[in-house]
Every structure is written in C-alpha cells, then in structure tokens.
C-alpha cells in the first residue's frame, strides 16, 4: 500500500464489507472451532472435557515437532534463497514483447497449473532410477542417487521440485512489474549513460518492489504449508527427512485423530507463520521506504 496521497474516508469500510463476510465465513468460523478443540479433550462427540492449556504444553515439549519445525525453516529459507534470485533473473531475461515473449510466458507458467499431487507424481516418476529420466541420467553419470532411501537425496529432490514448481510465480510477478516501467525511464537512463546494473538497481528493482514483496510473502507462506507434493513424492520419508509441519499436523489430526493436540498444534503453527509474515511485511516496507528516500536524494 502506498502511503502518500490518500484521502481519509471512513465510508470505504462499506466497500470492504463483502470481503470481510466471505473471509469470516471461510476463516474466522473455522479458526474459532479450532480454538474450541484445542482446550478440550474430545473423547466422543458427546463427551468433552475442558482441559485448559494442557495440549499446548504437551505440544510445545514435543521433540518431534521441534525437529519438524527446524526442517521446515531450513526448507523455507532455502526455497526463498533459490527462487527469488532465479525468479528475478527469469523476469529480466524474458523477451519484452512479440510472439516469443508470449510463448515463453506460456511455457514458464505451465508448471504452476499442474495440480499439486500431479507435481508430486511427475517428480516421483522423473526421479526413479528405473523409469525416470533424472534418476536414470544421474545413475549413468555415476551418482548414487536414490530419493526413497537417502535422506539428503530425498530432501534435495523435494527442494528441486519446489524450485521447478514455483520459481515461475516469482518470474511472472517480476515480469509484470517490469512491464509497468515506462520507456521514458530507460531513455532517460540511456542519456545519463547509466550502466546495466544501475538500471537494474535504480529503475527495475524499485519498480519491482511491490510485486517482489508479494512474491516473497507468497513463497514463504506456501512453502511453509507444503503438504501434497512431498506427501506424494516421499511420504515424508525416508525416516522423517522430509516430514514438514503440515504433514506432521495431518498425521496427528487424521492419522491418529488426536483432535485436541492437533488443534493446539494448528494454533501454534498459525502463530509462527503470522509472526514471520508480520516481520517480513514490515521489513520490506522499511526497505521500500529507504529506497524511495535514496531516489529522492539523488
């Protein structure tokens, strides 16, 4: 949200009401249910006992949860570190116009439109050393690659799969930001004799800031709740190597049907994401402001 030239208008609330109703129905009501579960021991639908914070305490001391959380952080940060730079590079290297630009966009966006379980399946096939291209190639290159047996291989496969799957989102958003830069800017830069890097740093990057912020947030949030793809690809194994938070939660909620602990865990999970996104959101706002200042000084 740009801050400067907005008028104060409390009636704007009326325009926001439809959104609030929609989201309240699909988010607030279920979230309240989860809160309700988290403080009760549900033995059967008719028999419930209020247990206070007991579930929260037991969940917080769960060492498996700590391990899953740690894996999740490593994974999410790896995803951001790889996908954001590649995405920016991708946005910059896409042709600006013409049929080639259209063709590239369509090809690149393809992986985004594949249902998540199919993504898992594709890589499951692709990585197998008997029937998959990647597995067979690595095998013939002499690499002892086996994503079902080796934890590191499994983890790397999930990471590469995620990069393959989601980098185009960053690229597309960045590209949309680039397209909004008027030619005049480039002409002015050329007259000033600005280097390619200067153009990137002072024209393209600031203009992409908004969309990149969306991209970073989206990628962080989505990688933090990754479930379907690793579930299909590795089933969380070998051992617990690729069991991320959502998978651990689903195991608890559906597998063992521990509603109380699962609900308590959900709330903690939600709060962690909330915290990180809040920090990230504010940090990017600050970065944005300081870059605007820099520009004004020059």
């Amino acid at each position: 949200m740009s801050q400067s030239t907005k008028t104060v208008n409390q009636r704007a609330w009326f325009m926001v009401i439809p959104v609030i109703i929609c989201v309240a129905f699909s988010a607030v009501l279920p979230l309240m249910t989860v809160v309700n579960y988290s403080v009760q021991d549900i033995i059967s639908p008719e028999r419930r006992v209020f247990v206070g914070t007991e579930w929260f305490v037991s969940v917080m001391r769960d060492s498996e949860l700590h391990a899953a959380l740690f894996r999740q952080f490593i994974f999410s940060f790896s995803v951001l570190l790889i996908e954001i730079p590649i995405g920016i590079l991708l946005a910059l290297s896409l042709p600006a116009k013409g049929w080639r630009a259209s063709a590239c966009l369509v090809i690149i966006a393809l992986s985004l439109l594949i249902p998540w379980n199919v993504v898992g399946t594709i890589w499951q096939i692709f990585g197998r050393s008997d029937i998959g291209l990647l597995g067979a190639l690595l095998k013939s290159a002499g690499v002892n690659y086996n994503y079902t047996g080796n934890s590191l291989d499994a983890w790397l496969t999930v990471l590469v799969m995620d990069v393959w799957h989601w980098t185009p989102l960053v690229g597309l958003l960045g590209y949309a930001g680039l397209q909004s830069i008027p030619d005049v800017y480039y002409q002015a830069a050329r007259i000033d004799g600005a280097s390619k890097f200067a153009i990137f740093r002072y024209i393209q990057l600031p203009k992409m800031r908004g969309v990149l912020m969306i991209a970073v947030l989206l990628r962080f949030m989505d990688s933090f709740m990754i479930y379907t793809e690793p579930f299909v690809l590795t089933g969380g194994g070998p051992g617990n190597a690729t069991t991320f938070l959502s998978q651990y939660l689903t195991q608890k909620a559906v597998g063992q049907f521990d509603l109380g602990p699962a609900a308590a865990f959900s709330l903690i999970y939600f709060l962690i994401i909330l915290l990180f996104c809040f920090v990230l959101y504010n940090w990017m706002q600050i970065v944005g402001k300081s870059s605007v200042k820099e520009q004004n000084h020059e």
Binding site: N9, A27, L94, L110, I114, Q179
Partner: protein
C-alpha cells in the same frame, strides 16, 4: 557489452525452459505408453504408441466428470473472488480508513493459514448447512485463500492508476458507479486478467479441501486421480494421461492472460 549481456540472458532463459519442460515432457511421453512398457524398458519416445490411456479417461464417466466438476467450482470461485475483491481493493488503494492496515494484513493471514488446519472445521460447518458434496462448498472454501490474493493483486494494479483520473471523472460529472464501470474497470482489465488467472490457478490445483468436501456429485479431478494409487500397483500410464489433461485447461487460460500481462499495468502510459 549489450550484445554479450543479451546472449547471457538468452542462454539462461533457454536452460530454464529446458529444465521446466523436461519433467512435463517425461509425463507426456509416459501417457502414450502402456504400463508394461513403462516398467519394462527405458525410452525417450513411446515404442508402442497408444491412445488407450486417454480413451479410458474420455469414455469413463467417473474420470471425465471430475474435469467438469473441477471447472464448475473453479469458475464459481473466480467469479465470487473478483466480484468481492474489486471494491475492497479500490478502497485500499484510494482511501485511508480506520484500521485499514490491520485489515489488509488480516486478509493476508488467511492466505497463510495451512488448509490442513481447517479441514475438520470446514467439514463440520458445511455438513451443518447442508452444502457437503456441492460445487458451491468447494468454491466457498477456496475463497479462504483466493479473496485475499485477489485483493492484494488488484490493489497493486489499482495503485498504479493515478488518482487524478478519478478526480477528473468526478469533475466531468460521473457518479461513482458510472466511473467505476466505464472508466476504471477498463483501465485495470489487465489486472483483472492476472487476478483471474491466479485465482483460477490456486483453485484448480488445490487438493486437500476439494477432496474432503466432496464425495460423489462434485468430486474434482485431483481427487479422482488419487484412486490410481490404490489400484493393483500404480497405474502410471492413466495417471500420466490424466495429469496431461489437467494441464490443458490451464494452458488455454494462460494463453488468454498472456496478452494482459504483456500489455502491462498501463501505468505511466495513461
């Protein structure tokens, strides 16, 4: 210098496209093979080219109805998302009001919530109101992440339109609804296209909620596909063919959106 740079970028793009297409190519390759061939020999092109897998999907109602169901709930979802998000995004991009920043951030938190958390509550909620196994149930459930996303993207596009345009229109005697429909919407139609694309995308690929909230009448294709796992071994070939077919509607949609993205935000050009 310029030439070199250009080439470097082209090479990067080419490498990326190959990386991006290889797994898909492999799936397409497999969809034209028989199961026996997939498991017995390794080849870059099908040796015994067959359409049998696609025929299975097009003739078996339990397969093709999955595609129809998915398209229905995705369309409903996109329509609702954009309709409710348009005025809200306009409010966020033009006005300051009490609690606007908090509200904006709150919307975002709903996109962050892992769907796994809401599985059970959704199930109970929709059972209570009698919406289970309908297209509307899935469409409504997917609003959870699509409405915030739509507001976000649209707000970004709208902020790019100078405020002077609104003011000029009011001076010219346009009422707000007239201005919004006749002037503002055409200006951000690129944004609407991109938003529709993203809403479509996230609704189309979601599995967990869509599978939980449906059983027979509105069963989506992503859920239908999971049944190949339980059969005697994996039915790789049919699964690959179904996978290829799930990409087709998306590929068509992105082909339309490509122009909107390419046209850009129309910022600075107005």
């Amino acid at each position: 210098m310029n030439e070199k740079r250009f080439q470097k970028r082209s090479i990067f793009l080419l490498v990326y496209i190959i990386f991006s297409l290889l797994p898909i190519y492999w799936m397409i390759n497999m969809s034209f093979k028989t199961n026996e061939e997939i498991l017995s020999q390794f080849s870059f092109f099908p040796q015994n080219f067959t359409f049998a897998n696609y025929l299975t999907i097009f003739t078996d109602e339990s397969w093709y109805s999955g595609y129809i169901n998915s398209m229905i709930y995705v369309a409903i979802n996109v329509l609702i998302s954009i309709t409710v998000a348009l005025p809200a995004a306009y409010a966020f991009s033009r006005y300051t009001f009490l609690g606007d920043k908090h509200l904006f951030f709150w919307l975002l938190t709903n996109r962050m919530t892992p769907p796994a958390v809401f599985l059970l509550p959704f199930f109970e909620l929709y059972s209570t109101v009698g919406l289970m196994d309908t297209h509307i149930a899935v469409a409504l459930a997917h609003l959870l992440f699509n409405v915030p996303l739509a507001v976000w993207i649209l707000e970004g596009f709208m902020s790019g339109i100078p405020k002077e345009i609104d003011e000029t229109a009011y001076i010219d005697g346009y009422s707000f609804p007239q201005f919004f429909v006749n002037i503002f919407l055409p200006l951000i139609k690129a944004g609407i296209g991109v938003t529709a694309f993203f809403c479509f995308m996230f609704s189309w690929v979601e599995l967990l909620l869509a599978r939980t909230l449906t059983s027979v009448n509105a069963k989506p294709i992503v859920a239908t596909m999971t049944r190949t796992v339980s059969a005697s071994g994996m039915d790789w070939a049919t699964l690959a063919a179904a996978g290829v077919l799930t990409i087709v509607p998306g590929a068509i949609v992105i082909w339309f959106v490509r122009n909107y993205i390419a046209k850009g935000f129309a910022m600075g050009r107005v």
